[in-house]
């Protein structure tokens, strides 16, 4: 058996490992083992790559590889270990972006090496695809990171003639790509790469903060496809399989996510969400003049303590305040008193689908106390209190009642059906989608302003005293 065959066999095993790992990641029972399997497959495949004589042919190249890997690992491990679970979406965005960047660089370096020999047209097409998609993913992820990290506004960024500018950039990229294929000219490819970076930025800028998770999932799929393109370029089946797996499953996952928000993918990416948000922003003045009812922690504590059924609806506000442990304390306390308590989890609560489940799991909330939206909604009408902690858009009845609203059609948790609604909020500021919530002004609604952790702690004390 030749060395190449041996390496290919190991790559095949790694590919099988990735497929099984993805399958495992889809079930709660095997998810962790799935991830470990994928990691093991990756380690074996990367290790085996060093068996290629070409990789070890030049000492300088080999040393550079090892140094880059050591630096990369030294940066990535502490970053991934220390990141707060609330900041995880940004972390995934960054790790995704650098993967796209790596794929684009592979295609670029390959082209630098091969361009003088005028490679076959399909090879140039593969290179261009890798560079384009990789650059879009890299730049797009960077902007997504900036939005989530609040380095820039989470609101959609719009400017005059946006569509026209996008179209010009798009046409220019196509033109440059065709010219690159015809001439195999390096500067043309570099220009394409630069424009692709620009495209990544202007593609993401108009997407509102609430939609960024869907976007990250899409960019994740893009990086997968860029990696697959690198696989074609390097004649490497493992990269093709792994990249395509991620690309295909990522696009499906993205569709599932946008479905959870009641919108089509095209609507998420290209809708005039921005303009509607601006309109809602202008209506803020009228919103503020309406009266809301605020309560004291003592009132609400009594309400909770003597309820039969309390539904906790957590949102991102709970996560940023790191209040998941206090929420659990309150829930446990109520349960000790015989109150039926469960958590109603909206699919996009937090900043990524399933994000809230991760955060509550971190606080050791038992799995069976978490109810998915579909499971929770039929129970809302019989709930005495819906305790909305740091959530807003996911309980906004406008999604059901106001056809003009940007979130119209998004499935929500029917907090409005509960007998009493209690909002723990930092302020009257609208949620991530940037629109007003009529539920705040409902007669059944009581508000308690403050940091979620503080207000929950006060409620714990109030329930103990009740």
């Amino acid at each position: 058996m030749s060395l190449d065959t041996g390496i290919d066999l190991v790559y095949l095993l790694a590919a099988i490992g990735f497929i099984l790992a993805l399958k495992g990641l889809g079930s709660p029972k095997y998810a962790r083992n799935g991830n470990l399997l994928a990691a093991a497959a990756a380690v074996v495949a990367v290790g085996m790559t060093f068996a290629y004589p070409e990789v070890r042919a030049h000492t300088l190249n080999l040393v550079l590889t090892l140094v880059a890997m050591v630096i990369g690992a030294a940066v990535a491990v502490p970053a991934a270990r220390k990141v707060k679970m609330t900041a995880m979406p940004q972390m995934v965005a960054i790790f995704n972006g650098v993967g796209g960047g790596a794929a684009a660089l592979i295609s670029l370096v390959y082209f630098l090496i091969e361009a003088p020999t005028k490679p076959a047209v399909y090879h140039i097409v593969e290179v261009i695809f890798g560079v384009l998609v990789g650059c879009v993913s890299f730049a797009g992820s960077a902007i997504a990171f900036a939005k989530l990290q609040e380095l820039m506004t989470g609101r959609p960024v719009t400017y005059p003639a946006q569509q026209v500018i996008n179209a010009i950039v798009g046409v220019a990229i196509v033109g440059l790509a065709v010219a690159t294929v015809v001439t195999a000219n390096v500067p043309l490819l570099v220009a394409t790469a630069v424009l692709a970076l620009v495209l990544g930025v202007i593609f993401v800028l108009p997407i509102g903060g609430a939609d960024v998770p869907v976007l990250i999932s899409l960019l994740n799929a893009f990086t997968g496809l860029a990696v697959a393109a690198s696989g074609f370029t390097l004649d490497n089946n493992l990269l093709i399989i792994a990249g395509t797996l991620v690309g295909a499953s990522g696009i499906l996952l993205t569709r599932m996510m946008s479905k959870a928000m009641g919108r089509s993918l095209a609507n998420v990416l290209f809708s005039a969400f921005g303009s509607v948000v601006t309109a809602a922003g202008g209506a803020d003045g009228t919103g503020e003049t309406r009266t809301v009812r605020t309560g004291t922690p003592e009132d609400i504590g009594v309400l909770l303590a003597y309820a039969r059924k309390v539904v906790i609806i957590p949102g991102y506000g709970l996560a940023v305040a790191q209040a998941q442990h206090t929420a659990r304390e309150l829930a446990d306390l109520l349960m000790e008193r015989g109150v039926e308590v469960f958590y109603a989890i909206h699919p996009v609560a937090g900043r990524m689908p399933g994000h809230m489940n991760v955060l509550l799991a971190e606080a050791n909330v038992p799995y069976d106390e978490l109810k998915e939206m579909d499971e929770a909604n039929p129970e809302m009408a019989t709930a005495d209190v819906a305790l909305v902690v740091g959530a807003n858009d996911t309980v906004n009845p406008a999604a059901k009642n106001t056809p003009g609203s940007p979130i119209y059609g998004m499935p929500i948790i029917n907090a409005d059906e509960a007998e009493n609604i209690v909002f723990l909020k930092r302020s009257m500021r609208p949620g991530f989608a940037g629109i007003d919530n009529d539920l705040l002004f409902d007669d059944k609604t009581t508000l308690l302003f403050g940091d979620a952790k503080d207000t929950l702690a006060k409620l714990v004390a109030a329930v103990k005293a009740a």
Partner: protein, 118 residues
């Protein structure tokens, strides 16, 4: 057309179907770990960066390849570690649930009616 590209195209098309098939029934609880896990899997681009580094000559190519390896390492290492951290939290459940099960009868028995009566 060269048969090599056709073989790769075959692999690609089959991988599309496998990719769709394996995640068709994922509970939404696991969407985030799945996204993160697949993010780590495309970090296998590291293999490609190591291969391209083997072919690189001259300062420009070496520098670009160096950054390629660096970025890919960040992707693969960070991706797997972050995913593991996420999934670790789903783990400690059985013990916790057992504890809850012990408490539950006590809670539900006297607690339920009392709560309603008060």
């Amino acid at each position: 057309m060269n048969t090599g590209i056709l073989e790769f195209l075959t692999v690609f098309v089959l991988a599309v179907f496998v990719g769709i098939e394996v995640i068709s029934a994922v509970p939404s609880v696991l969407h985030t770990p799945l996204m993160s896990g697949s993010n780590a899997i495309h970090g296998i681009v590291l293999v490609g960066t190591i291969l391209i580094m083997g072919e690189a000559h001259g300062a420009v190519q070496l520098t670009l390849a160096f950054f390629a390896v660096l970025l890919a390492t960040l992707n693969i290492v960070g991706g797997f570690v972050v995913t593991d951290r996420m999934l670790e939290m789903f783990k400690a459940k059985p013990a916790d649930r057992a504890k809850k099960a012990e408490d539950a009868p006590v809670d539900d028995g006297p607690g339920g009616p009392t709560g309603g009566a008060r």
